[in-house]
């Protein structure tokens, strides 16, 4: 199939900044839901942050979570409605800073949900503050001299936190190239297939550009991910209890 049509879940133009990776990730997620015929059943637990901008543009049932609590809301939804695909869509600030506890405990309980964690190394919506995932030396509006790891600790690698847990699926991708985007799509599909087969917690972390707050041109942002960010956050599948997707 060469036909590439805008998936049905994308009901309006997105509201992200030029070059923002969320737009690509939204489309891949929508494609997977469409292809798996899950769009009509899916329930999303939405983070606070740039993810909020999806609420009118991404056409699945949404529940707006308080900042950081998306995984806890998803737990409540999934326990009550186990037949529905339930996912969180969160940035790194939401899922790994204020919501680190909720994110980790959903994984520790092996909740049968899918977490889409978008890592752009920064708090985007609030104006580019340092995130737990910001790189050493990274200049942000709250680390104007560059992130000092002596004072702020090392960047948080969520995959390392989760890879030894009893969970269903764990992967990290990026959206910097056709190859990487196709790979992320496969990861997201694997994640939802894990959930739909009752395989437990599935999480896909996606390295994504934030040209606006990185103060970088979009093309340079993609190069920055490939050349620098992935050295801290290697790509790949880290936990895969089920088989390959039959895509």
């Amino acid at each position: 199939m060469v036909e590439r049509l805008i998936p049905t879940a994308l009901v309006e133009d997105n509201k992200f900044c030029p070059g923002c990776g969320h737009g690509i990730i939204n489309r891949i997620l929508a494609e997977v839901l469409d292809e798996m015929k899950l769009t009509d059943k899916a329930i999303g637990s939405m983070a606070v942050g740039c993810a909020c901008l999806m609420v009118d543009t991404f056409g699945v049932d949404w529940i707006q979570s308080p900042h950081g609590r998306a995984a806890a809301l998803a737990t409540g939804i999934k326990r009550c409605r186990p037949e529905n695909p339930v996912f969180t869509y969160q940035g790194d600030g939401d899922s790994m800073s204020i919501g680190f506890s909720e994110t980790m405990y959903a994984a520790l309980r092996n909740e049968n949900i899918t977490a889409i964690l978008v890592n752009n190394g920064i708090f985007g919506m609030t104006g580019g503050q340092m995130a737990p995932t910001s790189l050493p030396g990274q200049k942000t509006v709250t680390s104007p001299m560059g992130r000092n790891t002596d004072l702020t600790g090392q960047p948080l690698n969520i995959i390392n936190q989760m890879k030894d847990l009893n969970i269903g699926y764990l992967a990290r991708g990026s959206v910097t190239s056709i190859k990487n985007i196709n790979r992320v799509k496969k990861y997201i599909r694997n994640a939802f297939e894990t959930q739909m087969s009752g395989g437990g917690y599935s999480m896909v972390e996606i390295l994504s550009p934030c040209p606006t707050n990185w103060k970088m041109m979009p093309d340079k942002s993609l190069e920055h991910i490939d050349n620098t960010v992935t050295t801290y956050y290697p790509l790949g599948e880290f936990v895969k209890k089920g088989g390959d997707s039959n895509e």
Binding site: V2, P18, I24, R27, I181, P218, D219, L222
Partner: protein
Amino acid sequence: MSKKDNTKSVLTLHPERCKGCRYCIPTCPKDAISISDRINQKGYKPVAVDMETCIGCGSCYTICPDYVFEIKEVQ
């Protein structure tokens, strides 16, 4: 695949959605995409596609964050 059943992949462009990030330009294997001179309703200079050169491979669709491109099969 498309050749077998005599269909052709044709690009549909939605330039009003374009925010001018230019991800598609280096991604296009045929260098068929450029920035136009006009300004769209979002206030950006949208991309333009040389339809003669385009092979409908869908690379632009894949990289575009703003759903500017679609590839349709036509007879």
